[in-house]
Symmetry: C2
Subunit: 418 residues, 2 copies
């Protein structure tokens, strides 16, 4: 048996409050999945990760990167050690990407054929080959609860013709991914621990920024009958209105009884917006990467006057420009603080006086600034923990809203927490 997806409430806008039951536990959705690239959420000890958020529950699920783990320490090593959960000592659900995105963005000298992708490791230049079959083989060895079909990520911008050809390749690879998975899913390293359960395979809708191709891709993937559906190839530099439209157009074509996942987004107001539209799962490196760069998310306080800077869509989490605001979100204005600014050097207040995270309960802006300026590793740890708490608390609030906004004409609210 693969995943079980139980919708408890649906809003008129399409948002749903649900639970995703997986071999290693249940995931309350909509969910934000922190990224643990190399089998660790960068700079955050598991012991603290498990306590993050207003409810001190930590994340229900993490994402890990197949490309990175394939290269180091190697999927066969992880298989021999009992799979990724046991290897990294993380007992809760995991999801692995297919490796496709990293192959296309990190690896060198890649050569794409209908068969697969030849590439050279960004670590040591060694030659490797990923096909749909090999990606799934690697992901079965890793043994995450959810794995992803191998897809091609088209460059941005791309013509309609180029995008259509790439999409066709993605569809062929999706079919091959599924065939290989169905034939080999019993080989997962924890097969004996959960004899009645298997991993779940998600297909990835592509189609670039073309609504007709997104439609074609969604219909084709749904025909193949995956356990869940991802929307890939977004948040790659396009205006946010385009991202929103592509998501909206695709969501309406995906089955209501299966989870829907938008990959690689986003800013706090984005994940909130998409969750309210009906996206069940999202992941992004932003809270941890921004934290390592000293950028901290917080909400404006009542009556707070913000510095007058033009609201704009941030482009890269690596930028370390002065404090700026992101566009108003449904939950009030979100401020992105740059902790290294001199104005925080003697500021005894926490990042966010209304935040209940372990960082805001204990540490001052002055101390966090000191750690960042002194390049102390604790700075990256505490900043990442606060930002992750901000993301998890955002989704926790959205889940509550979705439950209480439940339309009586829709599915009735039921208790899906365990």
């Amino acid at each position: 048996m693969s995943l079980r997806f139980e919708v408890a409430a649906t809003t008129p806008e399409g948002g749903r409050r649900a639970a995703l039951h997986l071999p290693h536990g249940s995931v309350q959705t909509p969910v934000f999945m922190p990224v643990g690239t190399a089998a660790t959420v960068k700079a955050v000890p598991h012991e603290l990760l498990e306590q993050i958020g207003a409810d001190a529950r930590g994340p229900d699920i993490l994402l890990a990167n197949t490309y990175h783990l394939y290269l180091r320490p190697g999927h066969q090593t992880i298989r021999r050690l009992g799979g990724l959960h046991r290897f990294m000592s993380w007992p809760r659900p995991l999801l692995t990407d297919s490796g496709g995105f990293q192959v296309f963005s990190l690896a060198k000298l890649r050569k794409i054929t209908p068969e697969g992708v030849e590439f050279r490791s960004h670590l040591d230049g060694s030659a490797h080959f990923f096909s749909p079959e090999h990606s799934i083989e690697v992901q079965i060895a890793l043994g995450a609860d959810i794995l992803m079909a191998f897809d091609e990520c088209v460059e941005t911008p791309a013509t309609h013709e180029r995008t259509r050809d790439s999409m066709a390749l993605t569809h062929a690879w999706a079919a091959r991914s599924k065939a290989y998975f169905d034939a080999h899913k019993h080989e997962v390293p924890w097969a004996n621990d959960f004899p009645d359960q298997t991993q779940s395979l998600f297909g990835i809708v592509q189609g670039g920024m073309y609504a007709d191709l997104r439609r074609e891709s969604a219909l084709r993937l749904v025909e193949m009958d995956f356990d869940g559906y991802a929307i890939g190839g977004l948040a790659v530099g396009e205006p946010r209105e385009v991202t929103r439209e592509m998501i909206a157009r695709t969501l309406e074509l995906l089955p209501a009884n299966k989870p829907r996942y938008v990959m690689g987004v986003g800013y706090p107001d984005e994940i909130e917006e998409y969750a309210r539209m009906g996206v069940d799962m999202m992941d992004c490196v932003l809270p941890t990467r921004a934290g390592r760069h000293g950028l901290l998310f917080r909400r404006t306080q009542p009556g707070e006057s913000l510095p007058i800077t033009p609201a704009r869509t941030p482009t890269s989490p690596d930028e370390t420009s002065p404090t700026e605001t992101t566009p108003e979100s449904q939950s009030g204005s979100i401020v992105r603080m740059n902790i290294k600014r001199l104005e925080y050097a003697e500021d005894p207040s926490p990042i966010d006086p209304t935040c209940t995270c372990m960082v805001c309960r204990r540490y001052s802006r002055a101390y966090l600034r000191h750690l960042f300026v002194a390049r102390e590793p604790l700075g990256a740890t505490l900043n990442s923990i606060h930002n992750l708490a901000f993301y998890l608390d955002t989704m926790s609030r959205v889940r509550e809203d979705l439950m209480s906004a439940n339309s009586p004409g829709q599915i009735m609210a039921t208790d899906i927490t365990q």
Copy 2:
């Protein structure tokens, strides 16, 4: 009132089990003090530090470096934020060094006069001046429970004449440190929080590797009547027999009713040996620095055959040579593992199967090796936590032994834990 030192038991060998009562709490001695150079024990979150060790109590006291904090974020900033305890959100006791050692080893272009030391910051080349008065002024602003007199650290090796002159300067500076402290100790930032208590000032015995000078220094410092006495200028490259002899010669001249502190040592078998000789306090960067370099301490298991490598005194914590053993200690052989070795790549066992620390309870050697090889920040964190647990557990065991080996002819055992 300054510190209260309560000896519960003394062994015929001179070892003592005691408690050191300070404004911010009590310290069970003999104690190993982890080093928090820049107001953080490098790579170890406070939340985990507080749980380190077999008894999950964490360290009773940390050391912080005056030179580093003076330069960044600045002692006046820390004073304005309420002192170091509040700044770093560490409610337990703290000790600051005088800055002397770092001025002599890190700073550039230093110029020593009887008045003090001119130096340039290793961070930005800016010019600074430390005198005994200024060191104590900075340490009062930081507000650690224990502060150290400003001393000159003589280079090694040094002639008898050079060492004697340096020692004379240290004595003059010790007297000036004490005079300034007595006149200004009421200025500590937490004066109002602990109205009946003050910081405690320790003098530092110098004298290089010359027994006659060590004797002269100890007698002169004791005359000045400090709250406790440190033995400085050891573990700077001399053979361990010399270190041991200098410690033994000095200890017998120091008052039995005051704490004795050997600065900057050492390896686990060293801190155990010196504690059994009567040293009450020690500090060293070794457990954390070695951890960041992938070197892990563990004890040999019963029947374990070690690789045949000649036992030798390790010289630098930075070395990353293959696993080697340190000389037999009183508690069996101590192994220093190099976690990056290939032999650990698929080793599912913990660092030390008999260790109860949070790292050994949860993580495998294979995972720790992966984190180290992938340069993941979590590797430094977990390695440091294990090594600190090894040190704290070592001292915990020594304290138990000292209590049970209490000679009936000596002070009777009393309960000094609170």
